[in-house]
Amino acid sequence: MTKLVQAVIQPHRLDDVKSALEAAGVRGLTVSESSGYGRQRGHTEVYRGAEYTVDLVPKVKIDVLVADEDAAGVVEVVVKAAQTGKIGDGKVWVVPVEDVVRVRTGEHGSDAL
């Protein structure tokens, strides 16, 4: 079976996380720019004296499909590579996946990973 490891991390940690995942044998991932907030909350910007509170801060979201038995290890790799120790480092979670299909070949399940 397959698991989906999802992570929301600081944008500037992306390169390190990607390298660490490659080193750990992960063969593919999807990255999207996103925004959100957790304990970090937002920040203030000032334009010609008009103050704006920006609640949503830029984040990067990573999706990695892995085999069941690899999920825990991949989570560890992401956490280690993304961590700076400051508020706003993000979250990593794992969800079960019912099926995966490789579009090019039509393979299903773990063959498609």
Partner: protein, 435 residues
């Protein structure tokens, strides 16, 4: 007067006219970067629209109605004398004294009319019907810009032949503090009041969507402004150099002053502040460009930088949506420059000095020039505001000036121009049949 061509001055004036023309597309970038991404094209199109329409009007009858013979009510010259800029001889050139031909002089003046109309568009961002803007632009150029330029430069009420000059002293407006900046600023205020606030003004964030555009625009405006100020000498001489130096130093100081003001108040020296300070300084030094010496230019720049940085906050206090601060920058900056001439005007150090003008208060001329400058500035504010308010009210009652709420919420670019500035995912598919 016998006309003798001066090819040096003529080359300089053709170049200066081209520089001033560049200011209008520069303004499109300056304003365009400051609005949200969904209305940047409309913002830029208001400037481009003015380029086309006001250029045409100027060449057809605008120049003639400003500088033509006669003095109808003190507001207009004869609009038919030079209709289409045909048939004039070079000894009738505004710049005949410096050996610049009629057509070059008329062309140079066209660029001023264009940029003045375009400046107003900053007050109406995101919410004015484009058709109404174009109608307004033509009517305003005809009934506000032309009379103002005639009054100040064409021998009307505010010139050396007018009432202020005979009662006090000749008001000094070297390159257009009253005609261009006070005029556009007061008009922007009137139009912003008539249009009403943008939906969500003061509640929803309306941050500038592209600050590099704003800085690019400010840089190009500064460059073009050398044509505006140094070119207003109508000759390539030391006084043009004086205008160039003052335009550089006042602008630099105004930028520093704006940055210092916002650093003290908000804690950050911002790029938008730098771009805004540049324009505030350029505006303020415009009427004074060749009328003050280096020290006067530095003080005018500093005062403009601080006052304009503070003035852009007034719209939130008084609740009018002058979206991109035409009032805070052009009206306030124009007033600073026009009035401070009364303190710093001097006839020394390669400055320009119209007949009947006096030195400023700090240069031994007493208070007369200060009074003259203050009166001319106030008259310009009142005339422009009232005339614009009347024109805007008529447009509002007849053709309507405000875009619908749906248009405003969804973005005026898409609704009015059928375009979007930036590509997004799912950019559509082609429906035009390809043969």
């Amino acid at each position: 007067m016998e006309f003798t061509l001066d090819s040096g001055n003529t080359a300089f004036m053709i170049l200066a006219a081209s520089l001033v023309l560049l200011m209008t597309p520069a303004l499109a970038f300056f304003y365009g970067g400051m609005v949200r991404g969904k209305s940047v094209l409309n913002m830029m199109m208001m400037s481009f629209g003015a380029l086309g329409l006001v250029g045409l009007i100027w060449i057809l009858y605008g120049y003639s109605a400003t500088f033509g013979d006669g003095n109808y009510l003190g507001f207009f010259g004869n609009p038919f004398e030079y209709f289409g800029l045909q048939g004039a001889t070079d000894d009738e050139s505004l710049m005949a004294a410096t050996g610049v031909p009629f057509l070059v002089a008329a062309g140079y003046q066209a660029t001023f009319a264009i940029i003045t109309v375009a400046l107003i568009s900053g007050a109406v961002a995101d919410r004015m019907k484009f058709s109404a803007w174009m109608v307004f632009a033509g009517v305003w150029a005809t009934f506000v810009y032309i009379p103002m330029a005639h009054m100040v430069w064409g021998g009307g009420h505010l010139s050396g032949d007018g009432a202020i000059a005979s009662a006090l002293s000749t008001p000094i407006d070297f390159a257009g503090g009253t005609v261009v900046h006070i005029n556009a600023g007061a008009a922007g205020l009137a139009l912003a009041l008539l249009l009403g606030k943008r939906k969500g003004f003061g509640r929803e964030p309306m941050r500038p969507h592209n600050l590099p555009f704003v800085m690019l625009g400010a840089a190009l405006l500064w460059f073009g402004w050398f044509g505006f100020n140094a070119g207003s000498e109508f000759a390539a001489d030391a006084t043009a150099g004086r205008a160039w130096i003052n335009t550089t130093v006042a602008t630099g100081v105004a930028m520093l002053a704006w940055l210092a003001t916002e650093k003290a108040r908000d804690g950050h020296a911002t790029s938008l502040g730098a771009a805004s300070g540049i324009v505030a300084g350029l505006v303020a030094i415009t009427p004074a460009a060749a009328a003050v010496d280096t020290w006067g230019a530095i003080v005018i720049g500093a005062v403009a930088g601080v006052l304009c940085a503070l003035a852009v906050g007034l719209k939130y206090r008084f609740g009018y949506d002058d979206s991109l601060d035409v009032v805070g920058v052009h009206l306030v900056g124009g007033l600073v420059g026009t009035v401070l001439i009364g303190l710093f005007a001097t006839d020394q150090n390669a400055t320009w000095y119209p007949e009947g003008a006096l030195n400023g208060l700090f240069y031994g001329g007493g208070v007369t020039q200060l009074l003259s400058q203050t009166v001319v500035a106030l008259v310009a504010v009142v005339f422009s505001f009232l005339a614009t308010y009347v024109i805007g009210s008529i447009a509002k009652a007849t053709i309507g000036i405000r875009a619908s709420e749906d248009v405003e919420v969804g973005g005026i670019d898409l609704a009015v121009h059928g375009e979007s500035a930036y590509e997004t995912l799912g950019g559509g598919r082609v429906v035009t049949e390809v043969k």
